[in-house]
Symmetry: C2
Subunit: 310 residues, 2 copies
């Protein structure tokens, strides 16, 4: 039986491509290995696979004690295939913290504090003197673009950057052009309903006596989303009525420019002006440098409420 | 504060030398790092350090949340420094299973299924193009000799063997001569009392109605130990009288030749002849190919008792 290689649940581009790339490496080193995926291929990954003419891996639902496996882009068991505790784990290639992981026997465990699994895999290709083909380079550079948002994420390391440029040369590709198209394919909101957009990643916060709902959508094209503003306002207004929110804030974050545009509705929407020192125009405003709900949006609104009403 | 680098508790040669070697590598890569040890340096390790003129690391009793550390030759927290859960772990270089280990942040975690940590460290030197000096080569080859018993242990891999020969060339040393002397220094029994020898690693087994004590001592020179046979017989006889053992078996295992010589005393000492198909001479016999108490000595004696008396 082949060695099964897979990344984490809710797969992203790094997880899918790293499974394919490692299976290819193992095959070249003489091992019978096959890549799998634990969930649906997202649009960004689909774009990359299609561009480099590579098939998506087969779906895998669980593993058993009969299975010999290698994990990429994760190590924590709760993020892995159901049954992983019983399987024989031969190798892990990762770039996350190590936790909730255990084996009975020694294994090859290679995690490095870099921005992307592909950056580690590229090293391993070189260490084993295995040629990186154009397709493999394309898959690995897609993973790095995805995980580092074209080198703009604060998780990016010098190694990721250096590796990305080397891979771009092998793949003979214009990084900016390809990368932007790939990220756009993934961040496209055109196929989502307004309800999906405002509920996909939304949390409610109790601030004093006010109930504040804050939804966030990551995009590469803010305007594309705001063209549907009337539709969004309609569903948000329904949400406010149904749940008695005092404020509903939709934060549309441009992942490439590290800015957000906010749409604020509800009785207390005006608090946004105080919170971010901006003027709302038709209930909307640009929030320069704001990308984090947890570290920026929530505390700023909380402070503004406190100073205005208490 | 320097990065603290250390191996496991009850340190052996691989653990001590790997801490020193990694601290040297980190220093050469521009990091402020220092090697430590969690316990006493054993005689084998002391021999290696003296031979290559390297000081033993300072002792470390515990770490705190203030500490930034790197672990070598282990990863399980219960084998590490007290307080390890709170420390910031930057790196792990190891060759054991992964278990009971957890970090909050990504780290450099490099474990490989080879016979010795030094084999992994030598790779990392090469990957970073850092020169391996004669002293460092000497420390690393000492670790490989120790962990693989001069390549004779079943845990030895091709990589350990290849690395050992490369290091021997750098250190300009006769592997067989040096290795045997180093292993002898560690397996020397001359500094131990007869009581220490028969109690150091001894277990009692109930076999039917008989009480059987089986002690094991690992050596590189069986004769050295058997020169003290009269002294050993005296203390074993006292043990038998005090504890009413039906059989006391001292298994002296030559770790280089994978043989043992047994000394059998007590009313039922004759069962050893049946158990191993040997003739006892002055209560002693060579047991060819016998090295494991758990897998060879215990079951054979158990079977012999069963067929003779039940």
């Amino acid at each position: 039986m082949s060695i099964k290689i897979f990344g984490h649940q809710n797969p992203d581009t790094d997880t899918i491509t790293s499974a394919i790339v490692l299976a290819e490496l193992e095959s070249k080193l003489g091992r019978d290995a096959k890549a799998y995926r634990l969930g649906e291929v997202n649009k960004e990954t689909a774009y990359a696979l299609k561009y480099f003419n590579v098939d998506a891996p087969e779906r895998l639902d669980s593993v058993t004690e009969e299975d010999t496996v290698m994990l990429v882009d994760h190590n924590e068991f709760q993020q892995s295939a159901p049954g992983i505790e019983a399987a024989t784990i031969l190798a892990v290639i990762d770039h996350h913290r190590v936790a909730n992981f255990e084996t009975n026997a020694p294994l090859y465990f290679r995690a490095e504090p870099v921005g992307c699994t592909a950056t580690v895999l590229y090293k391993i290709f070189n260490e084993n003197n295995v040629e990186v083909t154009r397709e493999l380079a394309g898959l690995m550079l897609s993973a790095i673009i995805s995980d580092t948002l074209l080198l703009k994420s604060p998780t990016t390391t010098d190694q990721d950057e250096k590796t990305l440029y080397q891979l771009a040369e092998i793949a003979d590709i214009n990084l900016e052009l390809y990368g932007l198209e790939m990220l756009k394919a993934g961040a496209s909101t055109s196929d989502k309903t307004a309800e999906e957009l405002i509920n996909g990643d939304a949390k409610t916060f109790e601030m004093g006596e006010r109930s504040v709902r804050i939804a966030q959508v990551n995009v590469v094209d803010v305007d594309e989303l705001f063209e549907r503003k009337d539709e969004l306002v309609e569903v948000i207004t329904k949400e406010i009525d149904a749940n008695k929110y005092d404020l509903f804030t939709l934060v549309v974050t441009n992942i490439l420019e590290s800015n957000s545009k906010v749409l604020a509705l509800g009785e207390h929407h005006g608090v946004i002006e105080k919170a971010f020192d901006v003027a709302l125009e038709d209930n909307a405003a640009i929030l320069k440098g704001v990308v984090s709900r947890k570290k920026q949006v929530v505390p700023n609104i909380e402070k503004a409420f406190a100073s205005l009403y208490e």
